[in-house]
């Protein structure tokens, strides 16, 4: 029988193949079962393509943003709240792919790997399927109002815990009274895009925060180094312009007055490769994952750039683009002594978030000294440049940006920064598309939002 035992090889091959197939299925199941279950033809969860019943979506204060019962979707009763949070609650047709019902459909539907689509007594368990977000609906509404209908985005997050408090993107609409989006393409341009997560804009002068970080680390005699600004300069045949002639400026003055010539010169001094490294550390050319939702990637490509291109890149023009959330996280890192806490959107349930590592992801992207120096410069910007009286009591550190977008369009208006306060460790970003002057337009929005945020934060909400 030894002979036949050996010749039973064929059967062994079949056995191994069958076992391998089962393994393939098990792996596919582990990875994809959630997607399979979410297929709209699944009668356990859907009827006529809509979730039969789903968990409730709450903001951090327990305001219900979205409920589903018997296939009916109910949003918040306030029209402005609905508009401010459109990109969070989605539009009930799944057009907004970064919205919670799309990204967390499995969780809201009550599906889980152990119980599948089983429901006791046709109810989803509140504990398992309800979701609480880190967002503050009222703050989002305040930000939405402050934007006053202009396109753009506002983001506020806690740079110590990573919790995003405010995430607003415009244009927007009321999902309960859906307008005809296709009829006015201008008005609703990119309405399904959450600009905080998924847009990438030319950053303009806010990028100087990246160039400045590189300079602080790499230029030895930085405190005494000055460059002369006459309002414009020809570099390798390319003209770099500055809004006004600043004369001899140090880094501190250059950042406060946003002097292009200074940063052009210092970029040439640093070289493309160094600038590229610092940009990538700051989060360019990579995506952040916010509780499973990926952001768009900002882009910087200067490792081969020289002369005028490199000079323009160092002041946030050239081919640079920045993702607002990613840049906000960079500013958060400056605030948090160089450690970037990845922003998050879903508030962990107390017990599980504690047990399973609280999904707090931290990464040091700047040295402590650099972060502190940069922070001091940003504080100086506010005092010298933007006017402390506009941001009274906020302990604001900030940088504005006015990003040229070409053509005859007005530049994008940026304002980024953070509050240097133990009780309100908040970093923020405001982008107003074609808004004009950064510190005036975006700064104004920021002032309103931050005041509201501090009020709510210190009220204990």
């Amino acid at each position: 029988m030894k002979l036949l035992t050996r010749r039973a090889f064929g059967l062994l091959v079949l056995t191994v193949l069958l076992a391998a197939g089962l393994l393939i299925f098990t792996v596919r199941y582990a990875v994809n079962a959630s997607d399979w279950a979410q297929h709209p033809t699944n009668k356990h969860l859907y009827s006529e393509g809509r979730l039969k019943i789903a968990g409730i979506l709450y903001d951090r204060n327990g305001t219900a943003l979205l409920q589903t019962e018997d296939g009916e979707i109910k949003y918040n009763e306030n029209k402005t709240v609905r508009r401010a949070l459109l990109h969070v609650t989605g539009d009930s047709y799944g057009n907004i792919v970064t919205s919670i019902p799309v990204a967390y459909g499995d969780r809201l539907s009550g599906w889980d790997p152990v119980n599948g689509a089983y429901r006791f007594h046709d109810k989803v368990s509140g504990f398992g399927s309800d979701m609480t977000l880190t967002l503050d609906a009222d703050l989002c509404t305040a930000a939405y109002n402050a934007m006053n209908g202009r396109k753009g985005t506002v983001g506020v997050y806690n740079y110590k815990t990573g919790e995003i408090l405010c995430m607003v993107s415009l244009p927007s609409f009321d999902p309960e009274n859906r307008p005809n989006v296709e009829a006015s393409p201008e008005k609703y341009e990119g309405v399904y895009l959450n600009r905080l997560l998924s847009a990438a804009y030319t950053p303009g002068s806010v990028f100087k925060l990246v160039t400045a970080a590189a300079a602080i680390d790499r230029i030895p005699n930085l405190d005494t180094l000055t460059y002369h600004c006459e309002g414009k300069k020809l570099i390798n045949g390319t003209e770099v312009t500055c809004p006004s002639a600043h004369g001899d400026v140090t880094l501190k003055e250059a950042l406060a007055q946003s002097c292009n010539i200074y940063f052009a010169e210092i970029s040439l001094e640093l070289g493309g490769k160094t600038l590229q490294r610092y940009a990538e550390n700051a989060g360019f050319n990579s995506r952040l994952t916010v509780d499973g939702i990926q952001t768009a990637a900002g882009k910087v490509d200067v490792s081969e750039a020289e002369g005028g291109d490199l000079a323009w890149a160092g002041i946030g023009q050239y081919s640079d683009t920045a993702n607002p959330l990613s840049f906000m996280a960079y500013v958060g890192a400056i605030a948090n002594d160089g450690v970037r806490v990845t922003p998050k959107l879903v508030k962990g349930k107390g017990l599980s978030s504690f047990l399973f590592g609280a999904n707090l992801r931290q990464e040091r992207i700047l040295s402590r000294e650099t972060a502190v120096k940069l922070g001091a410069l940003m504080r100086n910007n506010v005092i010298e440049g933007y006017g402390e009286k506009n941001f009274k009591g906020l302990e604001l550190c900030a940088k504005s940006g006015t990003a040229e977008v070409g053509g005859d369009k007005k530049p994008h208006s940026w304002f980024v920064g953070y509050l240097d306060r133990e009780d309100c460790p908040l970093a923020f970003i405001v982008v107003v598309e074609n808004g004009g002057s950064g510190s005036k337009v975006a700064g104004n929005v920021a002032a309103k939002v931050l005041k509201a945020a501090v009020e709510r934060q210190t009220d204990g909400k």
């Binding site: 029988m1 030894k2 002979l3 036949l4 035992t5 050996r6 010749r7 039973a8 090889f9 064929g10 059967l11 062994l12 079949l14 056995t15 193949l17 069958l18 076992a19 197939g21 089962l22 393939i24 299925f25 098990t26 596919r28 199941y29 994809n32 079962a33 959630s34 997607d35 399979w36 279950a37 297929h39 033809t41 699944n42 009668k43 356990h44 969860l45 599906w111 889980d112 790997p113 152990v114 119980n115 599948g116 689509a117 089983y118 006791f120 007594h121 109810k123 368990s125 509140g126 504990f127 309800d130 349930k349 107390g350 017990l351 599980s352 978030s353 504690f354 609280a358």
Partner: protein, 601 residues
């Protein structure tokens, strides 16, 4: 410090949120009345996976105890020197390491002779050796009979052929897998059987409660008769059988799942399916009785091959088409799939005893029979079954010839042929078109597969409860998509256990190989199990889009009378290959004592 307080607060928050949730939940549930069936499902869906896992392991471990033959049929003795035990009914003798009795002497050929037992006497067959074989001094030409006490000489090596003495009936064997064997020695099959009954009773109640209008007394009767039949058969096995009982237990478990699936998908078929299971059990017992003697087994082989030729001709002339394949015969009072029954003949047709296998290397008859089976299947447009036959053919042909080149040649030819078939038959080609991208054809040619995947995901690990699934509404789900039904209603754990049981049948057969009495049993067991394996792969992976969907049944689980009976028939070949005698009560007790003593120390 702060972080500790914060974490503490978080925990308190969590507990509070959870408590709130529970209170709100309970309030919500109490606001409208809950039916009993909901509570029942809520509880038992946790019990099924636990029972399934327990049953699986409690059957698996005892079956893999003490491998190889543990019975000695006689000895070859060199006078006043040593003796070689004869462990099989067929023993190859020679210098080769692959011989069952290795005689490492010059003049002895690598493959010298076969000593075999059949028709109540021992025979020695000379395999055209150089030195020749002599019995009591007389040269054996071809084969000749030997009796205990005779002297047998292989070239110059002379042995005395002696009978086995008392006490060599069940020989303990030592191996490096002893630790594994020990795992199974305290598992009582009676308790395992009770677990299976519990699984079936709880599952039957679950189905009865969810069936609604279809719930009739006949459903209860079906389950009760099935359970009674199991009990009777188990009692007979315990009382009169000496072999391990776990193999039957595993199949009882699968048949129970079969009834669950049928009750959920086609309640009207329950009675028919029960009849098929009972008939299958009888066929199983009958075939075992017949092939106990290899000679009778051979006669059965010729009888069945003859019958199956008739069946195939009948099928080709009066066959009916269902789901595209013309593989049904309707005799007015009964309809069946003849090609299912041909499988049994096919497996037997491949068998041969070791002396035949080593003297006549001729495979022509078997190749001819296989070729006509596969040809008939292609005419019937039954692609799945022809793949099953072809796969089993490869396994058996390799066991018969041991020649990998021939097999590779045949395979290459078959692949080309299959390619041609797929190209020319658009009906089959469309199945291949969906393969790998079923989600793009979710509502057309990928309908069945996507619904199976959705159902499997909807079940989770525990299932939504028997009778609560939606996959049963899809056409042919009770045969082709049965894995999806198991996943959806009974959970992934139970479904995987069902498939792993079939994988285990193969491991078990491989494990038995070394100890087989006769190559007749070895080949038929391998043939039978390879049919199970290919069928399982085509069925399960076809429905899950890992292979193209071909529409074959899952052994023992799919709805289908012919299939069920034939699976039992094929199982009898596996059972026949198991020569081991289960440890008696005394032995089991002494083993248990040994263990308790060991623990005492």
């Amino acid at each position: 410090m702060n972080s500790i307080i914060e974490n503490g607060n978080q925990i308190l928050d969590g507990i509070r949120a959870w408590a709130d949730g529970v209170v709100a939940g309970v309030a919500a549930y109490l606001s409208n009345p809950i039916e009993f069936v909901e509570f029942y499902t809520f509880v038992v869906r946790w019990i099924f996976p636990i029972l399934a896992a327990a049953i699986f392991f409690r059957c698996l471990l005892p079956l893999l105890r003490s491998g190889g033959a543990n019975r000695i049929w006689g000895f070859l003795e060199i006078k006043d020197a040593y003796r070689i035990p004869i462990m099989h009914w067929e023993n190859s003798i020679g210098r080769s390491k692959l011989s069952d009795i290795v005689i490492n002497l010059p003049f002895v050929s690598r493959s010298h002779a076969v000593l075999s037992f059949g028709e109540k006497c021992w025979t020695i067959t000379d395999l055209a050796s150089k030195g020749g074989v002599r019995v009591n001094g007389e040269t054996v030409d071809g084969s000749g009979s030997v009796e205990f006490g005779d002297s047998i000489a292989f070239a110059t090596a002379e042995f005395q052929f002696l009978p086995a003495e008392e006490g060599y009936e069940s020989l303990p064997r030592k191996s490096r897998w002893d630790w594994f064997s020990k795992l199974g020695r305290n598992l009582d099959s009676n308790k395992t059987f009770l677990l299976i009954l519990a699984f079936q009773v709880l599952g039957g109640i679950q189905l009865y409660l969810t069936m609604g209008e279809a719930a009739t007394v006949s459903v209860i009767e079906t389950f009760l008769i099935f359970i009674a039949a199991e009990c009777v058969y188990y009692f007979v096995l315990s009382r009169y059988g000496r072999k391990y009982r776990e193999l039957e237990l595993l199949i009882y478990f699968l048949c129970g799942l079969n009834l669950f699936v049928v009750a959920s998908a086609k309640p009207g078929h329950l009675t028919k399916q029960l009849a098929a299971i009972l008939l299958g059990m009888m066929v199983y017992a009958a075939i075992q009785l017949i092939i106990k003697d290899v000679g009778r087994g051979r006669k059965l082989k010729y009888l069945l091959v003859g019958c199956s030729v008739v069946l195939m001709v009948l099928n080709l002339t009066i066959g009916e088409a269902r789901f595209g394949a013309r593989n049904w015969i309707n005799l007015g009072f009964i309809t069946f799939q003849p090609m299912e029954f041909v499988k049994v003949a096919f497996v037997l047709a491949g068998t041969a005893t070791l002396d035949k296998l080593l003297t006549a290397r001729n495979l022509t008859a078997f190749i001819g029979f296989s070729g006509s089976c596969i040809g008939a299947l292609i005419l019937m447009r039954d692609l799945g079954t022809s793949v099953i036959f072809f796969g089993a053919f490869l396994v058996i042909a390799f066991m018969r010839s041991g020649d990998i080149r021939t097999i590779a040649f045949i395979s290459a030819g078959a692949v080309l042929g299959a390619f041609a078939v797929v190209t020319f038959l658009p009906y089959i080609a469309s199945r291949f078109q969906a393969w790998g991208h079923v989600w793009e054809f979710a509502d057309t040619i990928g309908y069945q597969q996507t619904r199976t995947l959705i159902a499997s995901a909807s079940g989770g690990l525990l299932g939504v409860g028997g009778g609560n699934g939606y996959l049963v509404k899809v056409a042919a789900s009770d045969t082709d998509l049965v894995f999806g039904i198991l996943c959806e209603e009974w959970g992934l754990v139970v479904a995987l256990a069902a498939v792993l049981i079939i994988v285990f049948l193969s491991v078990f057969t491989l494990f038995l190989m070394r100890g087989c009495k006769s190559s007749f049993y070895a080949i038929s067991a391998c043939g039978a199990v390879s049919i199970f394996m290919i069928q399982t792969a085509l069925n399960v992976f076809g429905s899950l889009d890992i292979l193209p969907l071909t529409g074959v049944t899952l052994p023992f689980v799919s709805n289908g009378g012919s299939s069920m009976v034939v699976c039992w028939a094929l199982l009898s070949f596996i059972k026949a290959a198991d020569e081991r005698i289960r440890p008696g009560r005394e032995e089991a007790e002494s083993a248990a004592e040994g263990l308790t003593e060991g623990e005492g120390v």
